[in-house]
């Protein structure tokens, strides 16, 4: 639903057609993750050893494309940016959740999306991660009532960087663009100096 929020909010998509669109977007997402090489656990884990920065480059390419696309579609009046559903920020629980996520990513070799992609191509390690992810979702759902006070602490609401920094959205777009392009250049240098080695099985 998050993905289709503008169409959904505008009433173009109903609950059912929204699911169909989500399915198509999901399939495209999976296809491009696989094409980018992110269906490979070794490539993903190598990110954390700074041997292969594909994950960083793919993620920031996606961020940059979406950022510039949304901003300029908004400027052109094609898209009402204010209708995009933002997830609310709960600072401390999300920082801790992020660290847990990262630890699971390094240990398992996949993040949730890429584990589905790799499982679809029949990788057994990805199936294990996928099963673990499902068990984790179930467990979280079961213990949620007990941890709810913590999970809902340090709420900052639906906050965005332009609102937080009190600047025009365009300023943030410019800063993120520079960070991404700088990051790409740096990633290229790091990979060159480290010889682009994948993590090898022991």
């Amino acid at each position: 639903m998050d993905l289709t929020a503008p169409f959904y909010q505008a009433g173009v998509l109903g609950p059912r057609s929204g699911l169909v669109v989500a399915m198509l977007i999901g399939a495209a997402f999976g296809f491009f993750l696989e094409r980018a090489g992110l269906g490979n656990g070794r490539k993903l884990a190598s990110q954390f050893y700074l041997n292969d920065l594909t994950v960083f480059k793919v993620m920031f390419s996606a961020i940059l494309t979406a950022l510039l696309g949304l901003f300029w579609l908004g400027q052109a009046g094609v898209l009402d940016v204010s209708l995009i559903l933002l997830s609310p920020t709960y600072l401390v629980p999300q920082v801790i959740g992020g660290l847990l996520f990262g630890a699971g990513f390094v240990i398992g070799g996949y993040c949730p999306g890429t584990s589905c992609v790799a499982a679809a191509t029949g990788k057994l390690d990805a199936l294990v991660v996928f099963a673990g992810m499902m068990a984790g979702i179930l467990l979280y759902g079961e213990i949620y009532p007990a941890i709810r006070p913590f999970a809902e602490s340090t709420s900052m609401g639906r906050i965005s960087f332009p609102a937080l920094l009190s600047v025009r959205p365009g300023i943030v777009v410019g800063i993120v663009t520079l960070l991404a392009l700088g990051g790409f250049a740096l990633a290229g240098r790091i990979e060159k100096s480290r010889g682009n080695r994948l993590v090898q099985p022991e």
Binding site: Q9, Q75, G77, V81, S82, S155, R158, S160, G174, L181
Partner: protein, 200 residues
């Protein structure tokens, strides 16, 4: 070569964004107020409806914590527990009114219920904070006009109906009822029903 061209395109688009005027892009942070624009019910009109017809045809859903619900809730409201409002089976034929302390989780629940196909879902504008301010504890300004006095008598009745109490007059003299403050911006921490607001 392609990488360089893509990078250059991004640089141009990103650089131009810095210079672009802000007016045509609404701040995404306002997205949460969307249900409030289209599908909100004011505290005063909800109160009037309940006084007239009771909660027949209405499903009032309290989205706050259990302890908050137990200490006070709008008469006839139900508490869903920890259940996701999107999963709850609510009576389809009724008008569903969601409320929270402010509007955050009510706006989210509104979206979930809309996605489930509930057609008549409303959010209590300003949440229970607005209810507290406008219905339970309306303030009585001194030296008000005859018309305002009549209006206030109705408010007083409503406040008593819901077990609230009018707030003593502010010390500074004003001749008309003070404009209603933007209750959605009220600090959540300062929210307090007060002893007069306890219904059960």
């Amino acid at each position: 070569m392609i990488n360089r061209m893509l990078g250059l395109t991004a640089l141009v688009l990103g650089g131009a964004a810095v210079l672009a005027p802000a007016s045509r892009v609404t701040d995404p942070a306002t997205a949460e107020s969307i249900p409030a624009h289209h599908d909100a019910i004011e505290a005063e009109s909800l109160a009037a409806r309940i006084m007239e017809n009771g909660t027949a045809g209405l499903t009032l859903v309290d989205l706050r914590s259990q302890s908050a619900f137990e200490s006070y809730h709008i008469p006839g409201a139900m508490w869903l527990g920890a259940a996701d409002p999107g999963q709850a089976r609510l009576p389809v034929a009724t008008i569903v009114v969601l409320y929270d302390e402010a509007e955050e989780s009510a706006a989210r629940a509104w979206l979930l219920l809309k996605a489930q196909g509930y057609s008549r879902v409303y959010v209590l504008a300003g949440g229970l904070a607005a209810w507290d301010e406008q219905v339970l504890h309306p303030s009585l300004p001194p030296g008000m006009s005859h018309r305002a006095e009549e209006e206030f008598a109705a408010r007083l009745e409503r406040s008593r109906f819901f077990g609230g109490s009018p707030v003593p007059a502010p010390s500074r003299p004003i001749s008309v009822p003070r404009p209603r403050p933007d209750s959605t911006r009220r600090d959540k921490e300062s929210f307090d029903i007060g002893p007069g607001g306890c219904f059960y």
